[in-house]
Assembly symmetry: C2
Homo-oligomer: 335 residues x 2
Amino acid sequence: MPERLISIAHGGGGTRMRELLRETVFPLLGEDVLLDAEDAAVLALPGDRIALTTDSFVVKPLFFPGGDIGKLAVCGTVNDLAMVGARPLYLTMGLILEEGLSFSVLEKVVSSVADWAENTQVRIVAGDTKVVERGMADGMYINTSGVGVLEEGREVSIKGASPGDALIVNGYVGDHGIAVLSEREGFSFQAELLSDCAPLYGLVQSMLEAGEVHSLRDPTRGGLAAALNEMASASGCAFEVVEGDVPVREGVRAVCEMLGLDPLYVANEGKFLAAVGESDAGKVLAEIKGHALGENAMLIGRATEGRKGQVSLLTPLGTRRLLRTPSGEQLPRIC
Amino acid sequence: MPERLISIAHGGGGTRMRELLRETVFPLLGEDVLLDAEDAAVLALPGDRIALTTDSFVVKPLFFPGGDIGKLAVCGTVNDLAMVGARPLYLTMGLILEEGLSFSVLEKVVSSVADWAENTQVRIVAGDTKVVERGMADGMYINTSGVGVLEEGREVSIKGASPGDALIVNGYVGDHGIAVLSEREGFSFQAELLSDCAPLYGLVQSMLEAGEVHSLRDPTRGGLAAALNEMASASGCAFEVVEGDVPVREGVRAVCEMLGLDPLYVANEGKFLAAVGESDAGKVLAEIKGHALGENAMLIGRATEGRKGQVSLLTPLGTRRLLRTPSGEQLPRIC
């Protein structure tokens, strides 16, 4: 049987598009509200403060060890909501498909979206599908936007770190970027490197209940270095990080050395940087380490009253160097 | 001075991206919440029912008579919220930029987004910027997602039409599709045809206060024919439309005849199809006609108890024909 392919007509707003949605996309997502086909979904909202975020995903290739663009599109947006302490409720999904994309690829990606939406207890409540000509979207791009709800009194902000706060990461850094790069370039290693792509709200919720979490950031593009600089700069603190305490997997370190990359600048998709109140650091770290997504968590440094926004790294040689914000991206198209 | 161009580094999550956002994008949008650079925006929400929608815009070319991709990205999403009776409050903006796009084009588009956000009193509260390699995004694509709030008791639904309802459009159909096509193909006409791209919430709000509006749909892709079929099908009514009463501009009719297009299948971006309770039809139509975006409104037909979902057209020759849902799209990439 010849493979079914996406054509321009599938983006035309007529019966071909309706077939694509009703026979392929909606059954996988299993959301009644999509079948209603309203121009906008009408939804109940508990609480009077929402969090709202958006992310477009252009990762290349679409499938990589440990994930795919669909998993990334759910986890990335759920994590952005979690980083302000919001419980993720609703996602939208905007597909830009390239003419000639195979139905089987689309089905795999949408299934992955559905699986991870279920896993994270968010609902995909609104969508949009556009088709562009061959060569114009590298297979497919996905935008997800997310709405979450904030419990009363919950205040987690990129500005929230205070001098004395402990800086914690929930595990190995750099896995996602290196996994995607390896797949794209066809590298093969003895041990397969997997993306860390994962939804963080469950873990974040436990932490918020365990102690004073002042600030959270997921170190995606620009890696941990960008997240540290953004958090230090927004809070007005200086950060001191012990380089040797930043967990980096051996395989990731080896690839980075080979390619001249710094793992602190490589993207993650299942990690956070947290600034935690000094007196609660122990119990929050213990809580994180008790969670499957935090087993390898480490306290990597402290916020201090030093020069505003400056991030310094204490190297294994006992020297100190500034860890700067990256300028561009070492690895494009990793999310 | 050489023209500044977007490079891959502008999508990298580092200082180049921050410069692009802080020096070019944010000042145009003038939104303090974007400067906060949280992973998600935290927002007050009046009311406990929200409307949520998403749309990606891939229009080609980016600028056309009467609008541009930025205006379209605001109006399209605001209109989707308006179609369920929701007051638009917040938009997100996801940019996918192609390497080599000129800063001046980006600035024009973002300025247009800002102007139309101001015009429609919505705030752009969250954003995302990705850069893909040359040739991979035809200049730029934009996703906007929107959150609106629903007043208590407001129930406007694609399912809402009842037998007896008057079917009303707020003006000439087909202008948008033909304006975009003409620009793309380099057609020139004696009188310039302008896109009807416009934000409809103001008009919708007046209508909802004037009488019983049961159902609204904006006839974008697939044109009025798709909207009529979707509304008839969702409501379970049959629709009877008087072809001669559907307002079509002379210039649009001429281009359509020349190219073998049917104006009823051509996209609009500032129109709605409304099903209005029989007894309120007169005053609602008068209200619409008093509004700048409704001067040329027409009552074009009725919902009946005939065969579910069937749309029939009474032609000027006195014959009756079925108006079917289009299969694909006569004109790709018009939104």
